[in-house]
């Protein structure tokens, strides 16, 4: 494997595991791992999800805008990557379908993964769905 901005060194792997750990721990603290809470938000019973997304996006904004300016490069090397989002038919249709699935199950990809840790065997059905949904998309996508 040639070195590139994505190359996974051992220190980077440890940071990645820690970062994912904070993500999963935060989802759990925020009770986003409970489909009932997410559905409660979507049914206008509780506005907590706005605080979760707002708090997370706020810190992310600080990181994405601040770090490249303050540090130039990531602390473990490589470069600060960007992931430009596109506004096109696929984004609109895909997001609309995503919302239907999210509103039906109360589960999105992060909490689906977290169910493996919380031992929520019912939510593992949703994880299976997400895994198969990703496969179905890839198998039918135009290359």
């Amino acid at each position: 494997m040639t070195m590139n901005a994505h190359t996974l060194t051992l220190p980077k792997a440890i940071v990645t595991l820690l970062a994912g750990g904070l993500f999963g721990f935060g989802l759990s603290v925020a009770t986003m791992i409970q489909p009932e809470v997410v559905l409660g938000f979507l049914q206008f019973k509780d506005w907590g999800l706005m605080l979760v997304m707002g708090g997370a996006a706020g810190l992310a904004m600080l990181a994405y805008k601040g770090f490249p300016r303050w540090f130039g490069r990531p602390l473990l090397g490589g470069q600060f990557l960007t992931q430009p989002a596109q506004w096109n038919r696929q984004t609109v249709i895909g997001s609309a379908i995503f919302g239907v699935g999210w509103g039906l199950s109360g589960v999105c990809p992060g909490p689906a993964l977290a169910a493996l840790g919380t031992g929520n065997t019912e939510v593992l059905w949703a994880l299976a769905g997400v895994v198969l949904g990703g496969l179905a998309h890839g198998l039918t996508a135009r290359d």
Binding site: L27, K65, Q83, S95, G99, G110, G117, N120, V130, R142
Partner: protein
């Protein structure tokens, strides 16, 4: 009984844990960027991991091959973080939901398919996309919020 305050009306289950949890998620995303320079959306792993199995050109795109290892480690971290929470904060007990299995399975499938078609989910567009001030991500968030509100409320009526 005293009248409910606005905060109690908006957040009947309390609000502190939501903000604290959201900031913790954001700290994870920020950590991944600070040390590694990577944008940590959660749904790409459900495309990139299939590149280990399928040789189809779609799965063999460079953007999946480049990142498929770290994305799996990131996903493993999410599982571990939830596991730590379970044993440190929830008495080790397994969690349960009463949402019907068919809704979980079908909803999960649509969420997985849609997130990959739309190139992002609640974290990719909602946290990372909004965090990097991208208008297409704002459009994606408003779109999936709208269809999710609609679906969840139709299900309540059904």
């Amino acid at each position: 009984m005293p009248p409910m305050t606005l905060i109690e009306t908006l957040f009947p289950l309390g609000w502190q844990h939501y903000l604290l949890g959201g900031l913790t998620i954001g700290a994870g995303v920020a950590l991944l960027y600070l040390f590694n320079g990577w944008v940590g959306g959660m749904s790409t792993v459900f495309s990139s991991s299939w590149s280990f199995v399928f040789k189809r050109p779609f799965f063999q795109q460079e953007r999946f091959l480049n990142s498929r290892h770290w994305r799996l480690v990131y996903a493993a971290g999410v599982v571990l973080g939830a596991l730590v929470w379970r044993f440190a904060m929830a008495g080790g007990e397994a969690q349960h939901t009463s949402v019907p299995v068919w809704q979980l399975l079908v909803g999960g499938f649509l969420a997985g398919y849609g997130a990959r078609l739309g190139n992002g989910c609640t974290s990719g567009h909602g946290i990372c996309g909004l965090g990097s001030l991208q208008l297409p991500s704002l459009g994606a968030v408003l779109t999936f919020m709208a269809t999710a509100f609609l679906t969840a409320n139709l299900m309540r009526l059904a």
